[in-house]
Amino acid sequence: MLHDYPSFNVEDLHTVDEGVIEHIFPLLKHENGTEWDFIVGHFLGVDHVGHRVGPEHSEMTAKLQQMDTVLREIVELLDDETLLVVLGDHGMNQQGDHGGDGELETSAALWFYSKSVPLSTSESGTTSPSLMKMATYPGAKVPHRSIPQIDLVPTLSLLLGLPIPFNNLGFVIPELFQRDSDFQSAMEANTRQIKTYLDQYRASPSGGELDAGWENLEERYQQSRTLTGGGLSRAEAHYAFARTALETCRQLWAQFNMGLMVLGVLVMASAFAASVRVYQELSVPSDTWEVAVIEPLIQGFVAASVFAILVSIVAWTISSKVHLPISLAELAIFILSFGTPIPLAVPTNIRTPKGSTLSFESILLIVYCGVFWSNSFLVWEERVVTFFLVSCILPRVILSFGKSTGRLRWRLLGFGAAFLVAVRLMASSTICREEQHPFCHVTFYASSLLPSPPTVTLLLIIPIALGLPTVVRRFLKIAAADQGLAPFYIEIVLRCFLVLGSVSWIIDWVDHSGIAAQYVDAQWAAETIRVIRSTVGRIVAGGSIVGLALWSTSPLNIAVRRKQDASGETLVEVLGFANTYGSFYLLFVLFFFAFVWLTTQVSGQLPLALSLIAILAYLELIDTLRDIRQLSTGQHEKSSGGPSFSEIAPLALLAQLAFFSTGHQAVISTLQWKTAFVLTATRSVFSPLTVVSNTLGPIFVVALSAPLLGMWLIPPLPQPVGNNTVIRKTLKTALGFSIYFSTLLLSSAASAAWFRRHLMVWKVFAPRFMMAGLSMLAVDVGLLFAAAGIATVLQNVRTAYKGVT
């Protein structure tokens, strides 16, 4: 593992604290008549020395000496009315690092000092020793008073005469309240605050989390309210309630549940194995896959359901006596979801496809999984993806160049270049995550500080929105498949939607740049602009839905032309025949594309346009490569097993690149919240939809397009062979695409679980796991939509070619 701390300026160990020192003394001396009630100072030096050279170093001695001197001077300057609190926010391990749950990392100093007012006046021993927990520091001979760090919060609040913060779970430190009846009142205020908090939390939508421990908490609280607290002293009862609350909440919110994590990974793994098996069955060029898949599926469903019911009954009966580590619902869901794929995942007769050596793309996928185990690689993931994508395509184009001739060679070069250029341009758009600085230049926004589009994209976007439909139609023209309503849908509807989608964001830019306010009344301008923008958004969103409905009843993109040959016989020619399936399905994709376009900011629309071009170029490129292979081997591949994993994998990589290039990173801070207001001026039910569409839309669109690979240039005749081939090949492509993402999901989940105590877990591994989980779901939903779209295409093809042989 490589650890780098780019945000640390650890070079300068001695002056790092001088800013605080320089500013704190004038405040303490009340120079220039400065008045204050509270000063917070944060010294970073000890931490920096720790990270740089560790605690066993003379630098650390020097640093601690400096701190000692500073504290002595501060104590000197303290007046009688000021309380001094010095604390470490955490400790450090033997290497000087921190972040995890090691004993040395969780141990921090906490020191209270009151110069003249004594905090404890009564005789010692008034507080029960059971409230004064002692602990022995590792290696020490003598135990010392030990408290949870958050006990500082109620203690400090009450000493300063302030109410205790609402969410506090700490308990007042007894030693500091040994004055007459103060401790009793302090505890009462404290437990009342904790109870109010728990009550409020329980009334919240997440309140169910507390159900399991609620009775116990209630009972403890009642004990602290009554004079005879169940055999405990009042103080002990207060203490017991507060600590039970803290422990209950820790269990709920601050502890990983390794068992559930393992179960989750097992479910993902069994789903993965099952999809690999179905994928293999689909690679056999016949109709046997349905029968081969149905039997184990039924077995799995029946067996898992029966087993889940039995286990649930047993678990339910013993749950009153034995405390189960997981809930009944979790147990039942685990058995069902882990069990159903088992008969598929454990095949009786494994059919190993011919030449089942690992392809280059599969090896790249394994390497990609390795990336999840190193934070230094993971923060540069977008570059890894670009590199992999180019590595998949470039060698194939070069190797096939020699074998190709004439028109095929031109096609190879043209589509290969189009794909690579599109990918390269997409990769140049980035938002840069924090860890990439200073080696990354933000191109998504005008600058890293100004979240508005760069001027050049504002100038380019309308021409691009106007031109993209022409490019799409040009691709359909290759197989003459731009007949029927295709020109109307692409040239008019799509063009309108794209232009409106860009205009929506230009309006937003005008609104925020304050240009309009220079010429007209600002208030009026803002309101009018807002109404226009919402209307534009709703036209596109509503239009896409209406468009989809119209599309499903539209004729295919083919035209029948009759002509007479030399002998006077009438010939029937079907224009667009070769790409009947692909060209029609593409229209389906374009409606979703238009909506995602609307929810993508101007600087994201550019890479989005490029991704569409890349997909189309890729489909043609794969077809060209197949033709070239067919020429050199003489085998007819079109009736083969369908797209190979090597052909599907680059599309999955393209989906990842589309995510990164549209201004996203695997960190929560790159969520583009301003997309919540595309359809409405204020937050509404549509806001989550548009933010999700912005974040996952790029992946969704590529997933939706992936099955094109299984139907591009597939002849529709004879029927029903044509339809059955498309069903098999599109499902195979869909599963291959899904397998790619579930492999990444498995690896990222495992790495997040493994590194759960790593310093970088919340900055790097956990957000990447979340991205993997969400993109998996986006892919699943995208592929389901695709299956529905394909059904419509199949129906239209069956009707159109009815009776034709």
């Binding site: 945000s7 000063i39 100072g41 309380l83 470490g88 004594p118 109010t196 029968v291 149905i294």
Partner: protein
């Protein structure tokens, strides 16, 4: 074989694509179940309530008018402990001695504790705990879906509510 009729029957729906739809839906459910189980064990989360303690009689008379709170980043307990591990390190034990000195001299004025910081022990998470008294989680789920930073009640906000002046002499929050 009973399977052939089932396959033929399935082909009559969704124009032959029914089995494909079912398989993809089934996989989606499996992925969802796996993610649900995993995240319940992994993504520590709680709802951050934005309530503020607002009451007249829920505190004590103050003992001090003012306070100085100094965070020394990564100040481990043994660095200031009067009884550090044996044998003590010459580099960091008994170096910062003021706290133990004053505790010995003025036991009713000076109090030194070994405090347990809830993991993850990263500065930002800890500062939040030290000011709010709450536990660290990965996501503080907010009831406002677009609020990227959530403000919970803390003694800093209580100070402000009481119209007290808070001074931050150059605070630079790193990692």
């Amino acid at each position: 074989m009973y399977l052939k009729p089932i396959a033929n029957w399935a082909r009559r729906f969704a124009f032959g694509n029914l089995l494909a739809v079912l398989i993809l839906a089934w996989l989606a459910l499996l992925h969802f179940a796996g993610l649900w189980l995993f995240t319940r064990g992994f993504l520590l989360s709680r709802l951050a309530l934005s309530n503020v303690t607002d009451c007249e009689d829920c505190t004590l008379p103050q003992t001090h008018k003012r306070a100085v709170l100094l965070v020394i980043d990564a100040l481990r307990f043994d660095f200031v402990s009067p009884d550090p591990p044996e044998p003590p390190s010459k580099f960091h034990h008994h170096v910062l001695t003021l706290p133990q000195e004053l505790t010995r001299r003025q036991p009713s004025h000076s109090f030194l504790f070994d405090s347990f910081a809830d993991p993850p022990t990263t500065t930002l998470q800890r500062l939040k705990g030290i000011t709010t008294g709450s536990l660290p989680t990965f996501i503080d789920v907010s009831s406002n879906f677009d609020a990227t930073s959530i403000t919970e009640d803390s003694f800093i906000s209580q100070l402000r509510r009481a119209n007290k002046t808070v001074g931050f002499p150059l605070n630079k929050y790193d990692i």
